[in-house]
Every structure is written in structure tokens, then in C-alpha cells.
């Protein structure tokens, strides 16, 4: 990322202002007879040329995006400790393999004899995820974590309906990610919040009181968004199951325990796995992700279709199954993301997977150790892969978590996840992941300590941050008040 002031990059629509016809890409030569579109298309449906969309040269295109790219911070630049996002390194071998024409240039509706490799890859990733979670079934369809949640809850709904047991409520802890209640609600349930107890985990007594025959499922994140493991997970699952409910685990934080512990043994009925978190596929500036869902025996019949089925050494596609919830999207999932995830799993092996979690947890505890005197830690329970501080010590000097985040930008780091989970006021949720060298973690801690000191000695410096970024603090309130969500030609 460039730090000095640069000339502002125009919008595409402001380039080539004289609208000269230039060429950014030479199309294949038209080697069939040309036709007049209005001879074959209904003339009233034909588009008029749009003078506001220019044509620019290839180098103009490259420079435009090169310059834009230099306004971005990225994982490759430095620590990106967004809690619960697991911003780990994206191995370059994954990128090479996903670009093989045998994966990138195949069509999802080719005859199955022509796509045996692709079906095999899907099957192998399914088997690997079943092993990693200790659960008997999986769907790779969901395009992201939230999509996986919805898929899981719809399967739960279908399973309960098959039992003739319609229920109305999904319980969600107050520390949960916002997608949890949203997914429950889109699956037709009422999301009801359950309070956390003093150590940040689920209050078993409260749960006992709330679980009745209206509760379809409990959605739990393990470890939860405070980075704390639900150490009574087995009792919790038993309680829910005994009363006819099911357990949905949010696997966003699988990076904390993959290779050590099995959600299947925890009593999970469904769990989504964010491949763009634990399994290293790139976050892409906001996707594409992938959110496979592993399931227990109870939910096996209800997995989405189409499904890949192994028949001897061959693979086939099953398009229909009356027990299934149906398809959750087009085709079979974000396939090229699945390719990357399987590459990562094969590259790590069982031992590497365990080392990955070990170091992720070790680094989070290093951060906790380094920052414990400078930042307030509301929940003292042991940290797994992330640690959640708050700004209460700095707030005394009028410095809030947003200011700390913006000041971190000046120090060359991406800020932690801010103001989440909601049960910690002024939260700073830090997840270093296992990828970086320890020196990078120490450098981040150094910056955090320096900012804590600045907050005491020169709070205005922190409050007016960032000072050294491509643009200064951005007016987000104005953006929402005067909505301008597209370029328009000047009147």
C-alpha cells in the first residue's frame, strides 16, 4: 500500500473523457457473415449505445487497477488480525493448482464421463472434511459461512418435520455472530438470545430453563467469539438432544482445534466450515468463500442435491432425492475454492493441521500476554485462537476502539475486529493466526503498546488518526445520509 499522497485515481467513467474509440481487447475476428441485429431481434428491445461507458486501452486498464490495488492493505503486507476471520497466508501453490485448465475450464453440465476428475476431487474433499470433523456426511454447496448456516438450519427443519415435530425457536448466544440469528430467521425460525455467564460461555442453568419442546436447535460457536471454548459442550449437547432439539455448531473458529478435537464427538448435528478461514482460501476482498456443512447421522438424508455418489471407481451425480432439502445454489459449490482447500489439506497432512492450530493458539496467547497490562480483558477464561480486549482503559482518556484501530493503520497493521462480540463494549478482537513469523506478532504488540501510551500522553494524536494512509478518516455518516451508490454523468 502506498502511504504518501498520490494523485487521485479517476473512476473508469472519467477516463478517456473525449470518448475516442480505443481498444482494450481485440475480439476474435468475425469469420461468419455479419448480420444487422434489428433484422433478427425485436428492434424495441435492442439497447441504444451508452456514451457514458468508455473504451480504453489495455495499459490504461492495467494502470487503473494497479493504482487502485496500491490503495489496499492485504495479508501479504502485514498482520491482519481480524478476529473470527482467520486471515492466514494464502499459499501460492493453491492458486497455481486452481488455475489448471482441467479445473478452471470445465463446464458443470458436461457428461459425467468427461468430469470424473472434478467429481473425484469433490468426493475426496468430502472425505477429508468428514475425517477432520468426525461427522458422517457433508455438503460442499454453500458459498460462504452464512450460506452454510442457512443450509444447516434448513436440514434441521426438515429432520424435525420428518419426525412430525414442528418447532419455532432457535437459541443463539448473545456473543454470536450476526449471521446466526439472521440465518435462523431466514430458515423460518424465531431467533431467541441466550445470555452468557461470567466466563463468557453458555449459562447451563439458563439453557435448562429455556430448552423446551418449542426449541428446534441451539446454535453455538466453538470456541465462541471471545475465543473461549465451551468446556461443557458435551453436557450442553446432551441437554438439547434429550429435549428433542438439535445442535448447530458455527465452525468459523475451527482453526483453534482442527486436528485435535472432533465436533462429531461434541454432539454436533450440523457444522459449517469456512474454507476461506481455516483452510487458507483467499478472502478476495469479500469473497468468494465456501461454507461446507458437515452433518450427523440424523441429518444425512436431508443433505442438499445434487450430490456426488461413488459407484466403484466411478463418480455420478444424484440430482433428486425427496428427503433432501433441495439445492441451495446453482451446481455443486464454489468448486475452484474447494480445489484450493483440498490442496491445503493435502499440503499440511494430519500433523501439519495440528501444528497449524497449536501455533494459532500459541500466538493468540502471546498477544494476550504482551497486552494484558495495557488493555482491559473482560473475560479471563483461557484464550484459544483469539483474544478479546476492550478500550475501557483508553476510554478514560477519550480514546475509543475506533481511534485505536485507525491509529494502527499508521503503524502499518490492519486493525482487529471492532465492537464485536456485542457483549464486550468497545471490543478489540485479535486473531493473529499461525502464518506469520513471531517477530511480526511482536511488532503488532509493540504498536498496540505504543498506542496505549499515546492514548495517555497524546490522546489527540490517536483520535485524529489515521495520518499516514491514502485517504484520511472517511466520513461514513455522510455516505449513508447522502446516498451516492453509482457514478452519474454531470448534468
Amino acid at each position: 500500500m502506498r502511504r504518501r499522497a498520490i494523485r487521485p485515481e479517476p473512476l473508469f467513467f472519467e477516463l478517456n473523457p473525449r470518448r475516442v474509440r480505443r481498444q482494450g481487447y481485440a475480439l476474435p475476428v468475425l469469420d461468419v457473415p455479419p448480420i444487422e441485429s434489428s433484422d433478427v431481434l425485436p428492434p424495441e428491445l435492442v439497447r441504444q449505445p451508452d456514451p457514458h461507458v468508455p473504451d480504453i486501452g489495455e495499459m490504461e486498464v492495467v494502470q487503473h487497477f494497479h493504482r487502485l490495488s496500491q490503495l489496499n492493505y492485504a495479508v501479504d503486507e502485514g498482520l491482519y488480525p481480524l478476529g473470527s476471520c482467520t486471515m492466514k497466508y494464502n499459499p501460492r501453490i493453491n492458486e497455481q493448482i486452481a488455475r489448471l485448465p482441467g479445473f478452471a475450464a470445465i463446464h458443470p453440465l458436461q457428461p459425467v464421463a468427461q468430469i470424473q476428475g472434478a467429481l473425484r476431487l469433490i468426493w475426496e474433499l468430502e472425505e477429508s472434511l468428514k475425517t477432520i470433523t468426525g461427522m458422517p456426511g457433508v455438503t460442499l454447496q454453500p458459498a460462504a459461512g452464512a450460506h452454510g448456516e442457512l443450509t444447516g438450519i434448513l436440514m434441521i427443519r426438515k429432520a424435525l418435520a420428518a419426525r412430525g415435530d414442528a418447532r419455532e425457536v432457535v437459541l443463539v448466544p448473545d456473543s454470536a455472530h450476526g449471521t446466526n440469528p439472521a440465518s435462523a430467521s431466514f430458515a423460518g425460525y424465531r431467533a431467541v438470545e441466550i445470555a452468557s455467564n461470567d466466563d463468557g460461555t453458555v449459562d447451563l442453568d439458563a439453557l435448562d430453563r429455556m430448552i423446551d419442546d418449542t426449541v428446534a436447535a441451539l446454535m453455538l460457536t466453538v470456541p465462541n467469539t471471545l475465543g473461549v471454548f465451551e468446556h461443557r459442550i458435551v453436557e450442553i449437547s446432551k441437554l438439547v438432544h434429550d429435549r428433542g432439539g438439535l445442535i448447530y455448531l458455527d465452525g468459523a473458529n475451527l482453526n483453534a482445534f482442527a486436528g485435535r478435537s472432533l465436533p462429531g464427538l461434541m454432539g454436533a448435528d450440523a457444522m459449517h466450515i469456512n474454507l476461506h478461514k481455516t483452510f487458507s482460501t483467499p478472502h478476495g476482498g469479500g469473497g468468494p468463500g465456501a461454507g461446507p456443512v458437515t452433518v450427523s447421522k440424523t441429518l444425512l438424508p436431508h443433505l442438499p442435491v445434487p450430490r456426488v455418489v461413488r459407484v466403484g471407481d466411478n463418480f455420478e451425480l444424484l440430482w433428486d432425492d425427496p428427503e433432501s432439502i433441495g439445492p441451495m445454489r446453482g451446481f455443486y459449490g464454489n468448486f475452484l475454492i474447494l480445489v484450493r482447500a483440498l490442496t491445503y489439506i493435502r499440503g499440511l497432512g494430519a500433523e501439519g493441521l495440528r501444528t497449524m492450530s497449536d501455533v494459532a493458539v500459541l500466538y493468540a496467547n502471546l498477544v494476550r500476554h504482551r497486552l494484558a497490562d495495557a488493555y482491559h480483558l473482560k473475560y479471563q477464561a483461557p484464550s484459544m485462537h483469539e483474544v478479546v480486549f476492550d478500550d475501557s482503559l483508553q476510554a478514560r482518556h477519550g480514546v475509543h476502539n475506533t481511534d485505536i484501530a485507525k491509529r494502527l493503520l499508521d503503524y502499518g497493521f490492519h486493525p482487529p475486529t471492532m465492537s464485536f462480540p456485542l457483549i464486550v463494549h468497545g471490543a478489540l478482537m485479535i486473531e493473529p493466526t499461525e502464518s506469520v513469523a513471531p517477530e511480526e506478532v511482536e511488532a503488532f504488540c509493540g504498536a498496540m503498546l505504543a498506542i496505549a501510551k499515546e492514548a495517555e500522553e497524546n490522546p489527540e494524536l490517536v483520535r485524529s488518526a489515521p495520518h499516514d494512509t491514502p485517504v484520511r478518516r472517511v466520513d461514513e455518516v455522510r455516505a449513508a445520509r447522502n446516498l451516492k451508490v453509482r457514478w452519474t454523468p454531470e448534468e
Binding site: 482441467g102 475425517t131 478476495g284 469479500g286 468468494p288 494430519a350 497449536d358 500476554h369 486493525p415
Partner: protein, 452 residues
Amino acid sequence: MHPWVGAGLDDQRHILRLLGLESVDDLFTSIPAEVCVERLELPPAQDEDGLRKVFAATADANVVMDSLPCFLGAGVYRHVEPAVVDAVLSRAEFFTSYTPYQPEISQGTLQAIFEFQTLIGRLAGLPVANASLYDGATALVEAVLFSHRVLRGKRDLVVIAETVHPMYRKVLETYATAAGIEIVVVPPADDGRLDPEQVRAAAADRACCVVLQSPNFLGIIEDLPPLAEVAHDGGALAVQVVTEAVSLGLLAGGGDFGFDVVCGEAQSFGVAPGFGGPHLGFFACGENHMRQMPGRLVGETVDEEGSRAFCLTLSTREQHIRRAKATSNICTNQGLMALAATVWLEAVGGAGLRELAASCLARSEELKRRIADNGGPWRLAYPQSPTFNEFLLVGPGAGPDLVDRLAKENVLAGVPTATWGGSWSDGILVAVTERNSAADIDAFAAALEKLS
């Protein structure tokens, strides 16, 4: 030790000492022993060379579209691949960053999305487009749920054309069951197009929206203006689904004819077929309904020095603020694919897109003419209806059987419709793009003639 783990063994021991711990196991004591395992049964770690070999073997077990004259479409199309698209997508500043929550260090991603929103809006003929959805099928679902919200949940009926991609309709069924939405399907008339009067009768003043696809699943261009009119007459929103986004280079978007939502799949804009994903859902609507819109939105604003800047906006609609009452549960979307489409559209250019679409049309018409002239047993199902770059071929064995026979003649002929059924005769959907040379078209026609 592992290349993807930043700490070596000594580093780990050093940190453990600092924390006053004996072993890394001491960090995991809060996980009950009964849910732990000693070791997973996974294959051992492989080095890069090994990975390349194994995955190349898997990739080689697939038939690559480019290896033969290829006419597969049905929602996934093979268009030109300017090298600049992958070059931009390979920049770590784009692909290793995340959702631009911190606008001061994300202006690159934010401005690119703003350009994407503008480009999609101009093609759709509507002022507002979001930052992307998962794919065309889920974009359609979001359009239905959006219409349901806009009409305040008072209308639980959706009228949808049978000629909307059947896979999309199946996905809608999955979601509609949970949302308590009833679906009524309207089959096409004899010419493969929707009859507005049949739509009017089905909507019966009870529907929250009327959904149709144009060009439709059979490749046929619908007569949009009267269809928007009957939807509105019955108090419903009009939704156009587009699965071949390149058609918008030559055909005006539904917004120009009064459609309230234009949504669908933009894979055609520079996104690899990739065996079905990741692709690129898009969604455009009017300003009046912007607050009911699903998904992320980038807005223009200024920084504290008054310079133009961009940031995520209207996030009060989204799950991280509204939780159970959000307009969608979507969080991670298809950011990098939206970037691919933006680079592709800007490289191809405004006039270039029109020319590209015209090239698809000319090639498709040429193949249609050749098949009609052939006089063999296989014919166009709807010879009189206007198409853009795809059409239904029917005749004896026109399905998986003919596809296999043509594959033996080294032509990837298209997609059999029998997978999904329908009120039309089973056949093969044949798609023709600017990537199909005259030689490809000759090969297709010659193979058909040979099998006649």
C-alpha cells in the same frame, strides 16, 4: 515445522517459556478430553512437487472445454479471457484482503466495487446495484424475498415462468418452503415465450412478484414491456433474471421497460466456468426500494480533508447490525468475482461489449441457419422465435444420447434439458459465443450431417 506455519519449533518453545507453560497441550485444557483425538486419519503432508503431480492427474481426468468445439451454455458460458483479468486478480492487494470494513486502507477494493455497481446498474437499466451475491440462482431467491418485503409480507405468492432456469427454480423451492412462499409456475406458449395474459391470470392480484428470464432458459428473448405491465397491473413487482449477461451488450436491461429488479448471473463477464463456481450473482433495483436490498453496497463520500472516498454504506440493513431482522443473512459475498467482471467490462469497453454481443448473435444465427439448411432429423424447436446466442435443438435422441454421439465426433454439443424435464420437448441447448469460430460451426454442422 511447516512452510505455512510461521513459528519453528524453537520459536514455539520460546513462547511457551514466556507464557510459563511446559507444553502446547497446556493451552488446550479447556477442551474436554472425551472430544479429543490423538491423530487424524489423513494422508501424510505432500510437498509442492507432489501436490502438482497429484492434482494435475486429477485435472487431466476432465475434458477441458477448449479442447474441442464447445457449445455448452445453460447458465455457464465461455467468453473471451483477456489476460489482464487474471493479472489483476492475482495481485495480492486484491485477493489477500478482506471485506473493506476499514475504508482508509481499502479504497482500491471500494472504488472497484463502486465501478462494478455503476456498470451493472447501467446494463440493467436501474440506478442501484449491490456489490454481488453468491450466484444467479441465489440472486433470484433474494429478488423474491426482496419483493415479499417490499409488499410488507402481505403477498405470499410468486409467479414464475417455467422458462426460468430450472435449477434456479429448484433453489427457489428450497428457500420458499421455509419462508412460507407459494410458487405458481407459468409454462411458455407454443412459441416458447410467455403469454402476458396467462401471467395476468396466474398472478390474480395476489402475487408479490412476477419472475421471468430473458433470454429465457430456451434461449428465447421475451417481450418485456407487456410483461412488466401485467405484473404492475396486478400490484406485483416485475423481476427479470438474466443468466447470459453478455446478452445485455445488445439487449436493453429490464429496467428500461419498467422492471423493478434485474438480477442473475454475471459469470459471462470474465469469470471462469470453473465447474460451476465461484460465479457472480448480481442484483439491481430502483432507488425507492434500496433499503430493502440484500447484500453489500458501496457509497461515495469524502474523507476529513474533503477528498473523494468510498465506504460500505446502508449497513443498517445487514446482519451484523440488524441480526435476525436483516434484509439478508449474506456476509462474505463474491468480491473477487465482482472485481473480475469489472476488469473484464472495462477491458472489453462499452462499444466493445456491444461488438462482442453482436458477434455471439451472428455466430448463433449462422449455426441456426446451417442446422435448418441441413434438413436432417434434428431441427430448431422454435425456429420463429428470436434468440440471442442459445437455442433448443430437438429430434431423435436429442438428449444425453445425441450429446454422447456428437462427443465421439469431437463436438461438445450442448446441455441436454432432460436433466430437469419441462413442458417442452426434451432437447439439447446449444450456446454459441464469440469463442466459436466458423470452423467450430462447420464441425458442428458436419457432425450432425454425418449422424443423419
